[in-house]
Symmetry: C2
Subunit: 191 residues, 2 copies
DNA sequence: ACGGTAACCCTAACGGTTAGGACTTCACAA
DNA sequence: TTGTGAAGTCCTAACCGTTAGGGTTACCGT
């Protein structure tokens, strides 16, 4: 009698999806991304290959399963900052938090996996770019525009550039500050 | 007796490469990128499939054949600007020229082709990113550093972001100015 | 003139991805 | 309660970009 809002069907689907993603990530971490085929993942997860692609658009998407959360945090930083902080300030804080989390135990292994494969790195870029498009909308709103201008999109891309650069920097936190200093200057110039 | 510096072998290789790229681009423009397979291109160009991949690293690379020139122009703008103009100024001028060229007769059809395919758009992003890495080195030098810092890389990425954004903007020239205003502000803040 | 090698060829395969079509299981209304 | 439609899954066979293996020809430098 606790939470039966979602039917069995929906629960089963979510469970299948999770099982596939977990199985795949585990195999990738253990044996290397390129050394594990989709057919193997499907077999290990005890589903058909077509089922894998019913849940994930590509092999790479198996790895970046839960990336939607990152996007939402950025959006929230821009839309939810009070009057005390400016949007760039709020973004800087949130970015520091996010980049800091990348240093965790499991995260390190995860990002090492990503770095090991060209395809995963490419997919990562595309992911940030998707997030940049969403962030541009939030920035436009924050700057009081009904629709996104070139400036908004440029600023959003600039901000999202933090992740690749921070990951490859010796001191990620310092990289965040370096880039956000530039962003703040550009943001001010746009006002 | 005019210019026999290069041997027959080298000339033939270049000719083959050119023939493949021309054939492929023609077919893509006529029938659509996704509707033309590599095997077809090879047959039409009268070469083996393996020969196609001996000259081009991927199907997408067939389309972006001569992109190296763009990169060199940007580098030259940063390294070759005199004392009269700043590097951002020189970049802005060069970008205006380059973006202007995209509006030409054949260029329009070319970019429409690129826009028609997800894979080509993705490849385009990767291409700009490659150029950004090279540009970062030039920027670092211009700013008097022996090696590229996070700031240099961020600025380079920001500049290269002009192309995708200008192409999708209603007024590409205005987009260049908008973005370069931001870049100039960031550049100044970094000094 | 000749040995080495660069450019090219053919065939067969690999791995991600998708189409086609069938089967089972759940949701929901009659 | 039962019937019906849709959703989730399955299997098979293929498509397409890409590569490995191994061979042939044509050019270049000595």
């Amino acid at each position: 009698m606790t939470e039966q809002q979602v039917g069995r069907r929906e629960r089963k689907k979510a469970a299948t999806r999770q099982a596939i993603a977990d199985t795949a990530l585990g195999m990738f971490l253990e044996r290397g991304y390129d050394n594990v085929g989709i057919r193997e993942v499907a077999q290990a997860a005890d589903v058909a290959v077509t089922t894998v692609f019913a849940h994930f658009a590509s092999k790479e998407a198996l790895v970046f399963d839960r990336d939607q959360g990152l996007q939402e945090r950025l959006i929230k930083a821009v839309t939810g900052h009070g009057a005390r902080w400016s949007a760039p300030q709020a973004l800087r804080d949130e970015l520091h938090l996010m980049v800091g989390e990348f240093a965790g135990e499991q995260s390190t292994a995860f990002w090492r996996l990503v770095d090991s494969s060209t395809e995963l790195r490419d997919y990562e870029s595309k992911m940030w770019q998707r997030h940049a498009d969403a962030l541009a909308v939030a920035i436009a709103t924050d700057r009081g525009r009904p629709t996104t201008t070139t400036t908004d999109k440029a600023l959003a891309r600039f901000v999202l550039g933090v992740f690749p650069l921070a990951r490859e920097a010796d001191d990620p936190a310092a990289a965040v500050d370096e880039i956000m200093d530039l962003v703040s200057a550009a943001w001010a110039a746009a006002a």
